[in-house]
């Protein structure tokens, strides 16, 4: 019985560690899907300024992309958020003026959050598969 109890304890500890690892990796993959895009979800990621006055030729980055952050992961209740006022307009493709929304960059696109939500199950399945390989 002692050996069996030990095995159960070991299994529980391993399962708990696996669960924690999967959780952390899922949060990371979800954040990455929204910000950089992901083939798992089909999210294009945030658009990055490339051209025109005010942009920085040759630089990869941008205020919108940098505005995304993740917090609370240590509490088991992670929150992915942005402080950019342009995030909602870009997410839904809503123009600031009358007329169609126009994206001035070839990097990233719209609906990154929505596509990540739609593909969240795939993210979880992918991370579980990696952890249990």
């Amino acid at each position: 019985m002692g050996a069996f109890a030990d095995q159960v304890r070991q299994f529980t500890a391993k399962a708990e560690q696996l669960s924690n690892d999967v959780y952390a990796n899922v949060v990371s993959a979800t954040f990455n899907s929204i910000v950089n895009g992901s083939p798992i979800t089909g999210s294009p990621g945030q658009p990055v300024g490339q051209y025109g006055p005010g942009y920085h030729p040759g630089e990869v980055g941008g205020a919108l992309k940098a505005s995304w952050q993740v917090s609370g992961i240590e509490t088991g209740d992670a929150l992915i958020s942005t402080y950019s006022p342009y995030a909602v307009q870009n997410e839904y493709g809503i123009s600031a003026t009358d007329g169609p929304y126009v994206q001035h960059t070839t990097i990233g696109g719209r609906h990154s959050v929505a596509q990540t939500i739609g593909g969240f199950g795939r993210i979880v399945a992918d991370e579980v598969a990696k952890a249990t390989k």
């Binding site: 798992i40 979800t41 089909g42 999210s43 839904y92 169609p100 609906h111 596509q115 939500i117 739609g118």
Partner: protein
């Protein structure tokens, strides 16, 4: 691989079938500012300020067509009619008043998908105070989920988004009722014919109407996200 054209049209036609509010065939009169009735209720029928409506069955042509609801009581529907004309690529909007017409049966007023529509790759010039809708079709993933490679099952997923624009500062009724009616048409598990195949509305991520977002330019927008998936036979070209 599925036909994304057929998919787009299947989802669009579903949206086009929405009826948000209707009098049905009713006994209605026309006034200089809209329409009235002696029996039944415009409120009970579901009309709200800011709704885009279509009127029909009136004798005078000026009383048939498109309008925007600007006032609602049980027996009076105040409507601002409009006519959008595009000549040589230039859009003009006229707002003719309704014409007094005595009560008669066989007339209908219905709120459906706004008549001003910016479907995929179609530009639209919004007209002040007239609701409109934008459509986004965004494929997401394409996965071979069951073998063999040739002839196996490929699953594609994506997002169909309708952005519902209405005049700002008229309350939530018009946009929320339109979004709710559309969400009901795209309930999880709904299967639509798409070309030679079918597209299914996902049940694990059901349609999600977002928050109403005032834009500060006279418009408020309510995005509605519809998640779909479709299967096809995987074909590897020679």
């Amino acid at each position: 691989m599925i036909s994304h054209l057929a998919n787009t049209l299947a989802l669009r036609n579903r949206a086009l079938s929405v009826v948000v509010a209707t009098t049905g065939s009713a006994t209605l009169a026309a006034t200089a500012t809209g329409f009235t009735r002696a029996t039944g209720s415009f409120l009970t029928d579901g009309f709200s300020v800011g709704m885009d409506v279509v009127t029909s069955g009136f004798t005078n042509a000026a009383n048939n067509g498109n309008g925007v609801v600007v006032g609602v009581t049980a027996t009076t529907l105040t409507v601002s009619m409009y006519v959008v004309t595009i000549t040589n690529g230039a859009q003009s909007v006229t707002r003719p008043a309704t014409v007094i017409e005595a009560s008669a049966s066989g007339r209908t007023i219905a709120a459906k998908l706004p008549s001003m529509r910016a479907f995929e790759n179609v530009d639209l010039i919004p007209a002040a105070g007239i609701p409109y809708v934008e459509e986004d079709y965004a494929p997401a993933t394409h996965t071979l989920i069951a073998g063999p490679r040739q002839g196996g099952i490929a699953e594609e997923t994506g997002l169909y988004m309708l952005k519902l624009y209405g005049p700002t500062n008229v309350g939530v009724g018009a946009l929320r009722k339109l979004a709710d009616a559309l969400a009901a048409l795209f309930a999880g598990g709904t299967i639509l014919t798409s070309g030679a195949g079918a597209v299914r509305i996902r049940g694990d991520v059901a349609p999600v109407p977002a928050q109403i977002l005032p834009q500060g330019n006279g418009w408020s927008v309510l995005p509605l996200s519809v998640y779909w998936l479709a299967n096809s036979s995987n074909t590897i070209a020679a």
